[in-house]
Subunit: 633 residues, 2 copies
């Protein structure tokens, strides 16, 4: 396998308006306001051991679970997001706050390295007795990612050392050797965190631990399922588990045998990301093949048109093929964010535009919808249709999505470029500048565009000491008739699996002009997606659109877009900070003709109207109102 | 107001095939099998006091509620249904079983008349402390209905006397006088039962108690809401009630001020039925006007096309206008059965075909769907669309619907006729014979037809000693171009509010032939029913149809019925016991063209297919399979 490396966000400067605005909002509003919410919600206080023990603010469920069990992860995720902010701009106040958190964690850590504030405060005797439900390793993973990010942003390694001690404790506790527990996380996350720690520290034991967790998962070859052993040891009947069969945590089968995406969507996506990491680390074809099978399954059968995943609230996850209800869609923000992580890793394994297409889809739509324009309101679940009752909230009793979208946006520049020996791949557009090592030298590459509103892209190259190399420019699957020029001269479009390949001996001052036609277009769903039958969605470039009531005269649920109606893109600089809307002549049944009837043998006459659609990611930034992605055709 | 009286089922003989088959099934299979299930599920044992106390088979909810709290009602409803069976055919074994139940209830009854087996067994000190949640009066109502029915079927009054003692106790406990509780049932039901007791015994105090409950309900004029007083006395915070505001039990406003149907659908329907009863008893125009406003609200905004009510599982009830999702529809069988009760009472208040139309709709569709062809399997909630995962069950932890549909079918003959001084109204057709007092004499009236499969109806009249009277024959709103003949001669169709009025000095041997054309037709929903947008339902006569996968080559969710496709009714004597299906040339998108794509910018070509629809009431009597009422047009 040819493995590509991502170019870290800290080496890429966002220059384009779209992401610059989102990034500034996250840095100046989201991250500071989240710190306030962590304090207000007692999450900040929960790591101050031994006192006070925060009271239970949420009732425990029958299995003893409470969301407070994963408050450590919220601390970890905020530190990670805040560290990304520090990479953009150092800020002594933020550093002081993180250092204070690290102090608290240092005080809390047990002598043997164990670190979980919930257990240490409330039931230290029960640590590692319920890794199926109680998130000790999930918390460890997020703290570890925070520690790595803080180290990379500031060079300070105290937090990383704390987490290394904890990881060493975990590695001693879990494993295949006598006296060790043959367990693995109930909520995957630590696996990909350990790979990041391996990259940050060069300590192979972290890679080995991640590998163990992935390899052991779902293993019942000659042994009882670990979660069942553990349940019996707690005095619980394994069969009474509310997610019997362990599909919920993708522990129903060894991972290399998994071909269907099942269970809790966030757990799944984090695990697939780790599998892709390990496939690359170990050149593991079986693991890569499993990733590919799971990828096909989710993208061909179980994905919303907005790049959301997991329709069901019950398991926060997957149900069955083509089951994608719109008004009850769960499509958790975290799951889309995690899909970006997975897709980026697949792209490194295998430079194929299908991965970048989904990365872009999940990023610009379901993920970005999770964060309000003001940077301080959120969606946890993302509906594709609302009667007006689904609103953004300022906080959530389970605030996982808030910090996930913050850390994604704060590091979004890290998804733009990939590099391999003598090739540079440009995955995303939108104004980004970087200097990369390639073909024996380095090249400064500056991409300028008004993406995602316009598909006209210019790339300036300034190589230094490089031999010939290939510039691989992603041609999104949504763009038809893309053209390119090098130094003003049209070139043949040699597109290989979604990337235009331009191999040259590049010289300083070389430019590439890429034109990705961005036409508003209709999308239809597979006829087995019963909720979308007879309906159409709108897309322009990477953005999926929706109809909000605010922009439409007729109730959005009554709108009908005739098959032959032309779609027009219109820039609206004064609307929602400057967006492009899609307009079309449309029809709506005249409800006046329905007075006093709920059902009738004839349809009412239709009246003419105009349908106006706005990008999905920006919906619900005005007063609450009805919204619809799939419109009757 | 001119008040019509229903003709009791025991005076009407069902001669037509359709109802005869359903009735025989209920008498020979449903009622006996329900007795077995009552025994198996410990409900039968729960009235054997003082021992054994049945263990809690369902966890209590936070408010202390468990479904076992209403097991008395299940006993009452079974006795009622079984008593109807006895009215058809005496059966000493069934009588012995009811007598044994009555013995148990007699033993259980407290010295002061109180009778509630749950409280008497477990917490006698807490009686009447939570009438909001704990169903003491609901149970009393169903036991009372059972007692009245048993008395009417057999002349045995022991059970009725027990219940009279209990009602006397309730009347002493609740009321406006000093020392009395100003309460009323949290789950309405006893109100209509008390009216039945008043009719059966002639004791006006029962009517007075029903009137008190209805008049006092939701009264906060100078007093705190009774359910809040009661909650505080239990040490509970009234504001912590999960259905705060008391819309759940329609106690949010005095009933005469209610204009929107809200809350728990079964509670609502039972209450509206009682309101209609009392409007008739007291000639109460305000109460009648409230019934009419509520009727308009539910039928014009909140009713499924199948005559189901209450879309939400959360409150087992109403949500908002036009919110009628198909795949998550709750549409409880009990609510439709109760709608039949209410509609019949509205029809007595006011002979208007709109009431009979809804009565028929609810009866033949959502209600009847609740009972399987074999008479031993049930639907509690009635979906209008299923991916194949919604099945009938042999019993339910909350078996209210099973006995409700049994008592409805066992007494269905009671909904066919109404009578007032010199008028006979025929509400339903399907083969029914009765002898009625009218216009100073009596008339034997025999209606023969193959309804609901055929709209050709013949009525033979044999008057004895009557003066001229009016025969009012319902012309359903679904029938266009109805014609009638008297003694073979066509008559003018003098239709008044849905009834053809034929006034004559009738003679023995007179016949009326009524022809109600029964064409398969399309139904459309109000455009604000967003789940039905672009879709069509099929109806023929009183029956709403649905597409089951068994009868269709293409997956039902892919079927598209073109606007101009002809609908053909075809009798299928060998299918499901003999039904008429609707067939039409239809289209379906070719899923083969969708290989490996979930979304595409073009629709796939359509292939020709045939759509076959079966009556909704009979769905899910073969192997589980997908089903759809609303088909894409």
């Amino acid at each position: 396998m040819r493995i590509y490396a991502s170019v870290p966000f800290s080496r890429v400067k966002i220059t384009g308006d779209f992401w610059h605005e989102r990034l500034e909002t996250v840095l100046t509003r989201t991250i500071p306001s989240q710190l306030k919410m962590l304090e207000k919600s007692d999450i900040r206080g929960s790591i101050k051991l031994p006192k006070p023990v925060p009271p239970l603010t949420q009732p425990r469920r029958p299995n003893g679970f409470t969301v407070q069990v994963f408050w450590d992860s919220d601390i970890g995720k905020w530190i990670e997001a805040a560290s990304y902010a520090l990479s953009h701009r150092r800020d002594p106040d933020v550093e002081a706050e993180i250092d204070a958190m690290v102090d608290d964690l240092a005080k809390a850590q047990a002598d043997d390295g164990y670190l979980n504030c919930w257990y240490l405060q409330r039931e230290p005797e029960n640590r590692w007795t319920n890794i199926r439900d109680n998130h000790e390793m999930y918390n460890a993973g997020h703290l570890l990612e925070g520690a790595v990010a803080y180290y990379q942003a500031t060079g300070k390694d105290r937090f990383l050392k704390i987490m290394e001690r904890f990881c060493d404790h975990i590695a001693a506790t879990f494993g295949p050797n006598p006296g060790q527990k043959r367990g693995y996380p109930g909520h995957q996350e630590i696996e990909l965190a350990l790979v990041r720690a391996w990259h940050a520290t060069g300590k192979r034991k972290y890679l080995d631990l991640a590998t163990y967790f992935i390899d052991e998962r779902g293993n019942t070859d000659g042994v009882e399922h670990y979660f069942d052993i553990e349940a019996r040891e707690r005095g619980q009947d394994p069969a009474a588990y509310s997610f019997a069969g362990h599909e919920y945590s993708q522990a129903h089968l060894p991972v290399r045998q998994q071909t269907k995406v099942v269970g809790h969507a966030v757990r799944a996506m984090y695990m697939y990301a780790a599998m892709a990491d390990l496939a690359a680390e170990h050149n593991d074809a079986a693991l890569k093949a499993a990733c590919e099978a799971l990828w096909r399954d989710v993208t061909e059968r179980r994905m919303y048109v907005t790049g959301g995943f997991g329709p069901s609230e019950h398991n926060e996850g997957f149900t069955k093929d083509f089951d994608l209800p719109n008004d009850t869609s769960y499509a958790e923000t975290c799951a889309s964010v995690a899909m970006v992580f997975w897709a980026a890793r697949m792209l490194n394994l295998d430079l194929d535009g299908q991965y970048a297409d989904i990365l872009e889809l999940a990023l610009y739509n379901n993920s970005l919808a999770g964060l309000s324009q003001d940077g301080e309101h959120y969606f946890y679940d993302n509906k594709l249709e609302s009667d007006g009752s689904h609103h953004r909230w300022a906080w959530h009793f389970c605030p996982c999505c808030t910090m996930n979208v913050a850390r994604l946006v704060a590091s979004v520049a890290g998804y733009f470029y990939g590099v391999a020996d003598s090739e540079i791949a440009v995955h995303l557009y939108g104004g980004a500048e970087t200097t990369l090592p390639v073909a024996g030298g380095q090249v400064t590459l500056s991409e300028t565009s008004n993406y995602p509103w316009d598909g006209k892209i210019r790339i300036d190259l300034t190589p230094e000491g490089t031999g010939p190399f290939t510039l691989s420019l992603r041609i999104p699957s949504w763009s038809e008739g893309a053209t390119a020029k090098v130094n003003g001269e049209a070139i043949d479009m040699m597109i290989e699996r979604g990337y235009l390949k331009i191999t040259r001996d590049w010289a300083a001052g070389d430019t590439v002009d890429l034109d990705l036609p961005m036409r508003p277009e209709r999308l239809y769903a597979h006829p087995d997606v019963r909720h979308d039958v007879g309906r159409v969605a709108l897309r322009r470039g990477p953005l999926v659109y929706c109809c909000e009531q605010h922009d439409n005269d007729q109730p959005v649920n009554r709108l009908r877009l005739p098959r032959n109606a032309a779609l027009t893109a219109k820039a609206k600089p004064d609307l929602l900070g400057g967006i492009t809307v899609i307009e079309a002549a449309a029809k709506a049944e005249d409800a006046n003709a329905w007075a006093n009837h709920l059902y009738a043998t004839k349809r009412a006459p239709e009246i003419d109207t105009v349908l106006t659609a706005v990008p999905y990611y920006i919906w619900c930034n005005r007063e609450p109102n009805p919204m619809q992605v799939w419109v009757q055709e």
